[in-house]
């Protein structure tokens, strides 16, 4: 068996690592330094990573959006909107409540196809510019935003001002007892096609739906 120590190590000589014994790829000092730094890095990551994940968790957690009773079917007609209060965030009292504007589906007015979730139309009061609370003005038959002058028509489509898409909506259903229930939120493009909820300011026509992706924290009902 040839003596390996006879030849000069290709590592130590060529790389001129000071303090290394022949055949060593790394000097002992460097090795100790690296291990100390690695240990420090691991120790720091042990508290940094869980903390970061803790703070970011809500981004990936789907929020519960239960069905909520808003009244009986005879409270709503096709002529005008009736404001109803629902809870969109629990545990914060008044701050978690929001108004929805309700009316009956009207084949003369509504352009989207009828299905089991739109016997009643529930419009969100969240302005699609930057989220101020819009208000229905019956005399004008329009929705007006107090913040920067956004205007929406009777179907909730943008009539003027800065909003980038029609008002968000909620799924509705009718129970066997004749009660109307409001469910999850969904967003719509200018064709009133359903999309997973987007934040205000995010357009949904063209490439908008890809520039502003849907989030795991809030989704529309599958296959609707």
């Amino acid at each position: 068996m040839p003596d390996r120590h006879q030849t000069k190590s290709k590592y130590t000589t060529d790389r001129r690592i000071p303090g290394a014994f022949e055949g060593e790829t790394v000097s002992r000092r460097r090795f100790m330094t690296a291990s100390a730094h690695t240990a420090g890095g691991v120790a720091a990551m042990a508290f940094v990573l869980p903390s970061l994940a803790f703070a970011m968790g809500p981004i990936f957690e789907e929020q519960d959006q239960p069905w909520q009773d808003v009244g009986s079917t005879d409270e709503f007609d096709t002529e005008t909107y009736v404001p109803k209060t629902i809870t969109i965030a629990s545990g914060v009292g008044e701050a978690g409540k929001s108004t929805v504007y309700m009316r009956k589906y009207d084949p003369q007015v509504d352009v989207e196809p009828k299905d089991q979730y739109n016997d009643f139309i529930a419009l969100s009061t969240r302005c699609m510019h930057l989220g101020c609370p819009i208000r229905f003005v019956p005399a004008a038959g329009r929705f007006i935003c107090p913040c920067h002058g956004g205007v929406y028509n009777f179907r909730g489509e943008v009539d003027g001002g800065p909003p980038v898409r029609p008002l968000d909506r909620f799924y509705t259903r009718v129970t066997s007892g004749g009660r109307v229930e409001v469910g999850r939120r969904f967003s719509v493009n200018s064709e009133i096609e359903r999309f997973s909820p987007r934040d205000p300011g995010a357009p949904l026509d063209g490439i908008g739906q890809y520039l502003y992706p849907s989030r795991p924290s809030i989704r529309k009902l599958p296959n609707t």
């Binding site: 703070a55 970011m56 809500p58 981004i59 957690e61 929020q63 969109i88 965030a89 629990s90 545990g91 914060v92 009292g93 008044e94 701050a95 978690g96 930057l130 989220g131 101020c132 609370p133 913040c147 909820p197 987007r198 934040d199 205000p200 300011g201 995010a202 520039l211 502003y212 992706p213 849907s214 989030r215 924290s217 809030i218």
Partner: protein
């Protein structure tokens, strides 16, 4: 191998000679001065801090240094004032979105001794700080102080500016009245209009897709723990670089300018 040589330990000054008999007794002021000096000496002997203090405080400054150079320190004092008043406001404030937050601010303003004053200092002080930081930035810009070798200090300054803005944004929500609630809704949604990352950023700020139970406490933690800590560290680095690099001379002074008579004296 050269021998390891430690720096020589600081040698205490020799004790002053005892007073001659018949000399007047020490006045209380003299006693107090001596006690103070020996207390400082005691600390300095063990830390050598006086060197650092001298390095920081007895710097050479360029000819022509003027009042505009105080804007940085003014910003720092505005920050310190915000920090101190904020700590004391935290003794009464409750980040409870179900009504407690609004009630605790009402209590501070209407019931607590000097509460309205301290709250007012914090509230108006935030605007003062934003104004001062912009004036300071304008000073360094117009004096060309961002140029080599101070680019890094300009960079740290930009980070401080952004963090100051983030402080204003997160602090605005805390009173939890109608104005702060809707202004924050709008602000978070502006964040959300950033393509691709915006939607996730606003989910992060709200702790979910809706403004919910933990949004307020999240803003509160960012406002009073996270950002102030980072800012204090960055201000330290900023000041270190100021002392290390020295400040710039005003741009209207040319190296060739003859030294004026009265300044020579």
């Amino acid at each position: 191998m050269p021998k390891l040589k430690l720096p020589a330990p600081p040698i205490p000054l020799p004790k002053p000679l005892p007073k001659r008999p018949g000399a007047p007794r020490q006045t209380p002021v003299e006693t107090a001065t001596e006690a103070g000096i020996s207390a400082v000496d005691w600390v300095d002997e063990r830390t050598s801090l006086s060197g650092a203090a001298r390095w920081m405080m007895f710097r050479k400054v360029p000819r022509g240094t003027n009042w505009f150079y105080t804007l940085g320190s003014s910003t720092m004092f505005a920050f310190l004032s915000q920090a101190v008043t904020g700590v004391f406001l935290a003794m009464y404030y409750r980040p409870d979105a179900a009504g407690g937050a609004y009630e605790s601010i009402r209590y501070i303003n209407n019931e607590v001794f000097l509460g309205e004053f301290v709250h007012g200092m914090h509230k108006w002080g935030s605007s003062v700080m934003v104004i001062l930081i912009f004036l300071h930035m304008a000073r360094t810009f117009f004096f060309g102080a961002y140029k080599y070798p101070r680019e890094l200090n300009w960079g740290i300054g930009v980070a401080l500016l952004i963090l100051t803005m983030a402080m204003s944004f997160t602090g605005y929500l805390l009173p939890f009245d109608q104005r702060s609630y809707w202004a924050t809704i709008v602000g978070v949604n502006i964040n959300g209009t950033g393509p691709l990352v915006g939607p996730y950023l606003s989910d992060f700020l709200r702790a979910g897709p809706e403004f919910g139970a933990t949004t307020l406490s999240r803003f509160y933690a960012i406002h009073m723990l996270l950002i102030p800590g980072i800012m204090a560290a960055l201000i330290g680095a900023h000041l270190y670089l100021v002392a290390k690099l020295g400040t710039t001379a005003p741009p209207w002074l040319k190296p060739s300018d003859p030294v004026k008579k009265e300044e020579k004296a």
